[in-house]
């Protein structure tokens, strides 16, 4: 696998994406679209978190804020002049990316923990702003009427299938980006920051610039994941957009999967995401969040390198008995 270059990997991703899309179209159950959309959204969030958290070692607790910013920029534009969703995704990405850049610029020159604390507080403040901002619905929330279907070049598509397709595309872009970073000079630069920032700085690595690139990219992807959300959910409330489940899941998923490679967040998001889809239906949603929290604590203590680390450990043992 390691010899596969980016172009080949992109082709493989596109092939897998096409198969997923064709399979979903073949089954054609609306619930399946709804459930898989959520899982895809978590893959994007987890991958985005990992670009900063896993590669650079900087913890972002404000995933919910970046996600909500994408969602609310869509609501804002929808109220002014409804644009097509792909454009909204782009705008959401730009808004969240810029906020990520600003936060990073203010706090990343200090010790790493300040950035983490600032992101934690960011979620509270942005929620306060949105609650007080009547134009986007304030604390009452905003309704967005989702069209039933979409006319595109003479073909009519089911709207939820359209959203699902967009999220699938975004997932593919996020995964290819993460993997490309991992193997590029940028990724090596990130790794030096994670391993020993002082040494990196002393060896001439432009640490601040690299950290800012990571924060902006990571924030942008989170915003892009959030932009189609109002259309998906139909009624956006501050408490659902800033839900704690986004913050905790986007940390728990990479941590449980493994943070050093793009595969980790993918595996973590698929496992935790499907488990939660199942548990929310069968058990209560509070219990299912408790399980995620306990798994996060358990994994960081017992398996610091996540599932990938466990598998690598077993492989090594198996090769050298």
């Amino acid at each position: 696998m390691s010899s596969v270059n980016t172009a080949k990997f992109s082709l493989i991703t596109i092939a897998v994406g096409a198969v997923v899309m064709a399979f979903a179209h073949w089954v054609h159950v609306d619930y399946l679209y709804f459930a898989s959309y959520t899982i895809l959204q978590f893959i994007v969030l987890a991958t985005a978190w990992n670009i900063l958290g896993g590669y650079c070692g900087y913890v972002n607790f404000g995933s919910a804020a970046f996600f909500a910013m994408g969602a609310y920029s869509s609501v804002f534009i929808h109220k002014l002049y409804p644009l097509p969703v792909p454009l909204l995704i782009l705008i959401g990405g730009i808004v969240s990316g810029l906020v990520g850049f600003g936060m990073g610029y203010l706090t990343l020159r200090l010790r790493g923990s300040f950035f983490a604390i600032a992101t934690l507080a960011l979620a509270v403040v942005l929620q306060t702003l949105v609650v007080n901002w009547d134009f986007v619905g304030g604390s009452r929330g905003a309704y967005i009427i989702r069209p039933e279907e979409l006319e595109f070049a003479g073909i009519t598509i089911n709207y939820i299938e359209y959203l699902f397709g967009l999220m699938l595309l975004l997932t593919m872009i996020a995964l290819v980006t993460a993997r490309t970073i991992e193997r590029s000079q940028l990724g090596f630069g990130f790794a030096t920051i994670r391993d020993d920032e002082l040494a990196a700085e002393a060896s001439g690595v432009p640490t601040l610039r690299l950290k800012l690139i990571a924060t902006t990219l990571s924030g942008a992807f989170m915003g892009m994941a959030g932009a189609p959300f109002p259309y998906y959910i139909g009624y956006l409330q501050p408490s659902s957009a800033f839900g704690l489940e986004y913050a905790v899941n986007s940390i728990a998923m990479p941590m449980i999967g493994g943070t050093t490679s793009w595969v980790g967040p993918l595996i973590g998001a698929i496992l935790l995401g499907s488990a939660q889809q199942y548990a929310t239906v069968t058990i209560s949603s509070a219990v299912n969040l408790l399980i995620v929290g306990l798994m996060l604590v358990g994994f960081v203590i017992i398996a610091p390198n996540g599932l990938i680390g466990l598998v690598q450990g077993w492989r090594r043992k198996w090769r050298q008995p």
Partner: protein
């Protein structure tokens, strides 16, 4: 501008600030002195609130008395948490990423557990001093704010005395400055840190009782305090107890003025603005080294 309103807002802000100081005391020890980013501290405070609520409602005990009885239990809890933190993260040098995720998980697990046990309804306590007010001229001082203010100042005095006058307290200060030197003096830094972290969590019992006296509490209230607590801690200067007290008063007054003149729904944003300004212009804080 109504001068009476202004004076009352400032008085209320000072009382609120003193309470914020009690909330921040623990973080000032753990984050300020031990460099442990315990973002789960507000969750422990809410736990303290619920313990006060539980014994107050069922047995009619005074909430502050309950919190004092609960001190040893919270101390033991803190010492245990530190032991896990040290063994799993600090010893391996992984505190920056996994240690933070650990505390975040703790915050989350505590909050969700409280929701599962007590539900999301607001809970409150009953005591003789909740309700009446003292009037001095045009100033209104509700006892439900004044009593927490006094308790908080006492707590602060006790911590400051402990840190400056006792051997262990000085060792705590030393461990924040030079762990190696402390080791050469024949003191085990891990033991000192465990004691200090235990004390930091013990303050959460008192802060929790004060919180539930001041306002009704539900499990997610703690999240509002994360921004406040760290803003105060950074603004005051890491590890400086007098700085923490001044910063807490300052935040209390600014929040109270904001709530009076712009509406209470804006108050949570004040702390964050203050935090960002501090980080941007004076990261060392008011009384920082």
């Amino acid at each position: 501008m109504d001068i009476g309103l202004l004076i009352n807002a400032i008085a209320a802000g000072l009382l609120l600030g003193a309470f914020y100081a009690a909330v921040t005391a623990g973080v000032s020890i753990s984050f300020g002195m031990l460099d442990i980013v315990n973002i789960a501290h507000p969750a422990f405070i809410i736990l303290g609130s619920y313990i006060a609520y539980f014994f107050n409602t069922n047995y009619g005990v005074d909430p502050i008395l309950i919190s004092i009885i609960a001190l040893p239990a919270f101390y033991a809890l803190g010492a245990a948490v530190y032991q896990v933190y040290y063994q799993s993260f600090e010893r391996r040098g992984q505190e920056s990423l996994r240690g933070l995720a650990f505390f975040f998980g703790l915050l989350f697990v505590t909050e969700v557990s409280l929701i599962l046990v007590f539900g999301v309804d607001y809970r409150y306590v009953e005591a003789a001093y909740i309700g009446p007010s003292i009037h001095i001229g045009i100033i209104d001082l509700p006892l439900r704010m004044l009593v927490p203010c006094v308790v908080s100042l006492l707590l602060f005095g006790a911590i400051e005395l402990f840190v400056t006058r006792t051997f262990i307290g000085r060792a705590v200060k030393a461990v924040s400055q030079d762990q190696m030197a402390l080791q050469l003096m024949g003191v085990d830094p891990i033991k000192i840190k465990r004691i200090a972290f235990g004390i930091s969590i013990a303050t959460a019992a008192v802060a929790g009782a004060l919180l539930v006296i001041i306002q009704p509490v539900e499990p997610s209230v703690g999240r509002e305090y994360i921004g406040r607590v760290f803003a105060i801690c950074v603004l005051g200067g890491l590890g400086s107890m007098p700085g923490t007290l001044i910063a807490a008063m300052l935040l209390g007054v600014v929040e109270s003025l904001t709530a009076t003149f712009y509406g209470p729904s804006w108050a949570p944003a004040v702390a964050f603005g203050l935090l960002l300004l501090t980080l941007a212009f004076r990261p060392a804080g008011l009384l920082g080294r």
